[in-house]
């Protein structure tokens, strides 16, 4: 390098024209500290994840999350060996709420992942290829979007029969079109960018341009949306189970547990109260986390619902 010196610029801070955030882990900790809401949400999510993983260790009566029943200890109030009391079958509510994380949050994560796995490729193809392919794919998406998501989920579970798996399929079926539509918009907006053209000019095949150059530059807002949607899926999932169309007894699903305590609200409120609170806390935590992520990853703050 002979002539580098006269061209080289000081590697100090650059004129921040578009100010992309530096991805330093340390700065993220500082960022969290300045946003107590996000910090609380992240803590709750961390506790939920730990609870899900450690449920067999933490639950005093792991069997109660399964098919165990204890008809000599039904509807015991909170206290003693049963911190959250027992339900109508004598099962420890605390153990069931704890194992419920695996069901309610776990299945919701799977549903979101499945929706992304279908929606993102469909949207990417539609947005990148354009033309007739775009038209056909988006009309299919429109058909799915025309139904209110809970109604579509109801129709699917009613047809397939009520079960945890069918409820998950039903929610994913009503959720992926949103990602397809959003991804299509992002991809179509980026398709005309100079770097996409430059990639084609380099002899890169079209599918590879889509995967390597369009996708990484458009996925951010969709990840944000997915994290916000997690709360919605948890609620939808609980609603389906509450209506008897989702998880079936003895699965420790929160919505189902609320339903089982529904008639006992005024006499033995703990049966419905604790799983209900769990739904609320989980949904709130994921919403706050999603909002925080959006502030960081997608400052434009686009929402769709």
């Amino acid at each position: 390098m002979t002539a580098a010196a006269d061209l080289g610029r000081e590697p100090g801070p650059r004129d921040g024209d578009d100010g992309a955030p530096a991805s330093v882990p340390g700065s993220f900790v500082g960022y969290l500290a300045r946003r107590p809401g996000l910090l609380i949400a992240a803590t709750i999510v961390a506790i939920l994840l730990a609870g899900a993983i450690l449920a067999p260790v933490l639950a005093p009566f792991p069997g109660d999350a399964g098919s165990d029943t204890n008809l000599l200890a039904t509807l015991l109030p909170p206290g003693g060996a049963h911190a959250f009391g027992t339900d109508i079958a004598g099962r420890d509510v605390w153990s069931r709420v704890l194992f419920g994380i695996r069901i309610s949050v776990g299945v919701s994560l799977v549903v979101i992942a499945a929706s992304l796995l279908i929606g993102v490729p469909v949207g990417l193809i539609a947005g990148t290829v354009g033309g007739k392919t775009d038209d056909i794919l988006m009309r299919i998406v429109d058909v799915f979007l025309a139904f209110p998501s809970l109604l579509l989920a109801l129709a699917i579970t009613a047809t397939l029969g009520p079960s945890l798996e069918h409820a998950a399929i039903a929610i994913a079926a009503s959720w992926w079109p949103w990602y397809a539509r959003q991804m299509r918009g992002e991809a179509a907006a980026i398709r005309g960018r100079a770097y996409v053209e430059a990639a084609s000019l380099l002899g890169i095949a079209r599918w590879r341009v889509a995967l390597r150059h369009i996708l990484p530059n458009s996925i951010g807002p969709i990840i944000v949306q997915a994290s916000l949607d997690l709360a919605g899926v948890i609620l939808t999932f609980a609603a389906l189970s509450f209506l008897g169309l989702g998880a079936q007894d003895p699965t420790p699903e929160w919505g189902l547990m609320v339903e089982q305590g529904r008639t006992l609200t005024f006499t033995q409120p703990w049966v419905a109260l604790f799983p209900g609170a769990a739904i609320m806390i989980a949904a709130l935590a994921f919403t706050l986390l999603g909002e925080g992520l959006r502030e960081r990853l997608d400052p434009k703050g686009q929402t769709r619902r």
Binding site: L7, P216, N217
Partner: protein, 263 residues
């Protein structure tokens, strides 16, 4: 190919989009090691002509005639063949230097990936990149930067460095300096001249910047309404015969004319 056969040869090229003939060029050649300027107003068909060379025209465009590169007919060539030529043998340098780099890739990774794509052996890559960076006088430290951390001139050098690393024989520069500061424009022009001398690279420079083209090109073709209306050495700009050339020259303020106007 013998030495006197042009590297790029365009014959009777016609490009039509929805029945409208937008480009109609009887012949245009670029010899090995030659710098040819293609000058015209916006909408004259310059960019369309460039796109047709590498086979990246809009889907509804019809192309007639012949485009040969080193004896290979590129018009209507299968996509697989065109992809091997794009970047690898014919490089394109765009106007928006920084915007032409993928924002999620560091400059070094961008170059590296293109070398992998064009099957440059791993053992050769490092040496080629080092040589290319030296050729475009770019600090290797900049390779770890993202596009938004580069200046426009640096980004343009990255793009040209890739062309050098891939040993492209022909560089198509599409308004490659128009978005840059005047001083940086001069640097890029110098870079092109230098590359021709060091690597024997040929250039087809498309621009409306007459000063740049006059100072750089061996031959200049003036294009208007899709056809070449005048051609010659750099002197065509100082002694224009065709009205279009005359208008182009008149529309470009020179220091002398600015001084005249001020007096």
């Amino acid at each position: 190919m013998s030495e006197d056969t042009p590297l790029l040869s365009i014959r009777d090229l016609a490009i039509e989009i929805r029945g409208r003939r937008l480009v109609d060029v009887a012949d245009l050649t670029v010899a090995r090691g030659e710098i040819v300027g293609l000058v015209g107003e916006s909408g004259a068909g310059k960019s369309l002509l460039l796109s047709s060379i590498i086979g990246l025209l809009p889907a509804d465009a019809t192309v007639l005639g012949s485009i040969t590169f080193d004896g290979i007919e590129l018009r209507g060539a299968p996509d697989r063949l065109l992809r091997q030529v794009r970047g690898r043998r014919i490089a394109v340098v765009l106007q928006a230097a920084r915007a032409a780099l993928t924002p999620t890739l560091r400059a070094g990774a961008w170059i590296e990936r293109a070398l992998v794509l064009h099957r440059v052996p791993a053992a050769e890559r490092r040496a080629r990149v080092a040589h290319a960076l030296d050729a475009v006088r770019l600090d290797p430290a900049l390779m770890s930067r993202y596009p938004h951390q580069l200046s426009g001139g640096e980004a343009q050098r990255v793009a040209v460095a890739l062309a050098v690393a891939l040993r492209a024989e022909l560089v198509l520069a599409d308004e490659a300096t128009s978005a840059l500061d005047v001083t940086v424009q001069a640097e890029v022009a110098e870079l092109f001249r230098d590359l021709r001398a060091r690597e024997g690279t040929s250039f087809l420079i498309v621009s409306h910047d007459l000063a740049l083209v006059a100072g750089l090109a061996d031959r200049i073709d003036i294009i208007a309404d899709g056809s070449i209306v005048e051609r010659g050495g750099p002197s065509v700009l100082s002694d224009p015969h065709h009205q279009v050339t005359h208008d182009l020259v008149a529309a470009n303020p020179t220091l002398e004319r600015v001084r005249e106007a001020a007096l």
